[in-house]
């Protein structure tokens, strides 16, 4: 069994593919804070400066998903699934003009998953 921190729904994959056709290589970055915080944001690769403080969580439909390490400390016991919902977030995330938003659904990692992923 392969254990992952992140997953993506079929609906969300369709949107990712649509954006990949338009923009090429993409990344997800998990936001925090107010307003549209806590939403996953999708950008062209290279748009956002990433370094060792950004934790790589996994790759979804060819898109690498990152989160800042400080935030990761509070999130690492949970499994995240990226889905979509109708709506209009206000950020620079590329799906916004489509009238939909990526959204995170979370569940607690099982004991076994937690052991493998977090030691």
């Amino acid at each position: 069994m392969k254990v992952e921190r992140v997953a993506i729904t079929e609906d969300a994959i369709k949107i990712v593919k649509q954006l990949q056709e338009k923009y090429g290589e993409l990344i997800f970055h998990q936001s925090g804070g107010c307003c549209d915080g806590s939403s996953p944001m999708i950008f062209e690769k290279g748009e956002m400066y990433l370094d060792d403080s950004d934790i790589f969580l996994g790759e979804l439909s060819g898109v690498k998903y990152y989160m800042n390490q400080d935030q990761f400390e509070y999130w690492k016991h949970t499994h995240l699934t990226i889905g979509i919902t109708k709506g209009r977030g206000s950020s620079f995330s590329l799906e916004i003009p489509l009238g939909i938003r990526f959204i995170i659904h979370s569940r607690i990692l099982t004991d076994e998953e937690n052991k493998i992923l977090n030691g």
Partner: protein, 499 residues
């Protein structure tokens, strides 16, 4: 008393160079009301060309505006305040329609506070002075405060006109021209304001651009002809804006939210009096503005020996909240601002339950009748748990509070400061020592002591840690919008003697 949805035009333009113009690309987006998900009007889906036009208009206007007297600028800021005040109800109804917040809030808080921020900065520039120092008998150092030039401002959807009124007045008072982008969820009152004040400022001094973040927000935030960017929102966009600013070597101010602790020490229950009543209300303020406040007191910390009795009263007060049609003046909690916000909040309540948090009240969507059944309502919710849970660490931006107990002062502080953010906090006690020492030990930019959710002009507001930097609502904000010209003047007739 009950109000109803106001009339709107079919579509609106961007406000550039003193007049309303269509977007260059001719595209619009539909704005809807979260009250019943009904259509409001079309607003411009601006692109880079529209942003370029607005920035060019601001640049063309900046020299003349930067040279106006403080008297003149103050007079115009006061004029804006008078216009908003004279149309208070119209602004309030439109804000309720666009954002979903109850009419009693827009009438009593959002709009009157907006008026006051314009007046405050009008007053500030009449009273403040520069400085001069005689460095020696022949040498004078004179400091003149000069505007930066053109400022870009990107504001959120939770208090649309109020956030505009936190941002625009200090920038204009300092002598800058501004290009402002309202959030795409709530473009209405910024547009109404431009209609009402179209003639107040010279063309190009104030410009408002509508559109989506990646299409209009990014070109504005990264524009090479902009001299400063002010942003309120979340951390990822904050980081991106700082990156763009670094390319232009521009200053920025950031307000990026929080996860504010509201701490109740046991002495609040020493008497059953007006103060205890105030404290109970203070705990229930998590539901104010549907929880869509950067400083929402979304972590409730209660001392263990009063926990059961105190929470019993907090739950009873929460149960008494009237959640209904936002146009009705008896309604206390209205709709969340958008569908994605609504979905996100419900998803958080779910993860809270998964993590083992106990639902003390609420915990679900609120189903209203008729047209309102299409709106986005969430029940005020109290979750009991511990500070490592995600519902204690992330800004849910909904009417959801996470409550936990603490033993003593040390534990209260440990929990309060165990967060990435540091925007607001509340401390409630009758103990004179705690009143001072606890707020000093909390790492946050605003600590409300025996009160919460007051935002008067004249009290600086801003964050520690990942909540950002900059201090709004206060004259110190002026210095984030200008630079210091130092004139070093010699009154000595004699040469140095070097050459």
């Amino acid at each position: 008393m009950s109000y109803s949805k106001p009339e709107f035009k079919e579509k609106y333009g961007n406000f550039i160079n003193g007049k309303f113009v269509d977007p260059v690309g001719g595209e619009y987006f539909d704005n809807t009301s979260p009250i019943d998900n009904s259509h409001i009007a079309k607003y411009p889906r601006s692109q880079k060309e529209d942003v370029d036009n607005a920035v060019a208009a601001a640049n063309a206007a900046k020299d003349a505006w930067g040279n106006t007297s403080a008297t003149e600028r103050a007079t115009l800021l006061n004029k804006v305040a008078d216009i908003i005040e004279a149309n208070l109800e119209e602004f309030a109804i439109m804000e309720t329609c666009d954002n979903g917040k109850p009419i009693r809030e827009t009438i009593n808080a959002d709009i009157p506070l907006s008026v006051d921020h314009w007046r405050y900065f009008a007053a500030v520039i009449r009273a403040e002075e520069g400085s001069a120092t005689e460095l020696d008998e022949h040498t004078l150092s004179m400091n003149i405060k000069e505007p930066l030039g053109v400022v870009a401002q990107i504001i959120p959807w939770n208090f649309p006109l109020l956030m505009l009124s936190w941002k625009l007045p200090p920038a204009l008072a300092a002598g800058n021209c501004v290009v402002l982008k309202p959030a795409e969820q709530t473009p209405s009152t910024a547009t109404l304001l431009m209609e009402k004040i179209a003639e107040v400022f010279p063309p190009g001094v104030v410009n408002v651009i509508h559109g989506f973040g990646p299409e209009a927000g990014k070109p504005l935030a990264s524009h090479s002809k902009v001299n400063k960017v002010a942003f309120t929102g979340e951390t990822t966009t904050g980081q991106l804006i700082m990156q763009y600013a670094s390319k232009n070597l521009n200053p920025v101010t950031m307000e990026l939210g929080g996860k504010s602790p509201n701490i109740f020490f046991n002495s609040v229950m020493d008497e059953d009096d007006a103060f205890l009543d105030k404290a109970i209300e203070g705990a229930v303020l998590f539901a104010f503005n549907q929880g869509e406040v950067c400083t929402c007191p979304s972590r409730l910390l209660v001392q263990e020996d009063i926990y059961d009795k105190f929470m019993e009263r907090v739950i009873a007060r929460t149960k008494a909240i009237i959640q209904d049609n936002p146009y009705d003046s008896s309604t206390m909690v209205g709709a969340q601002a958008s569908n994605d916000q609504y979905e996100k909040i419900l998803s958080y309540i779910n993860i809270g339950k998964e993590e083992g948090a106990k639902v003390l009240i609420g915990g679900e969507a609120c189903k209203l009748e008729g047209d309102l059944s299409n709106g986005f309502y969430v029940q005020p919710t109290i979750l009991e748990g511990h500070n490592k849970m995600r519902v204690f660490q992330e800004e849910i931006f909904g009417p959801v509070v996470a409550v936990t107990k603490f033993k003593d002062e040390a534990e209260a502080l440990e929990i309060a400061n165990d967060t990435l953010y540091g925007l607001g906090a509340g401390v409630w006690t009758r103990d004179a020592h705690q009143l001072y020492q606890i707020p000093r030990a909390i790492k946050a930019g605003r600590v409300w002591v025996n009160c919460y959710h007051a935002y008067p002009a004249h009290a600086p507001f801003g964050g520690y840690k990942k909540s950002g930097f900059g201090r709004e609502n206060h004259l110190m904000m002026m210095n984030y919008y200008r630079q210091t010209k130092n004139m070093l003047i010699s009154y000595d007739k004699n040469k140095l003697g070097f050459f």
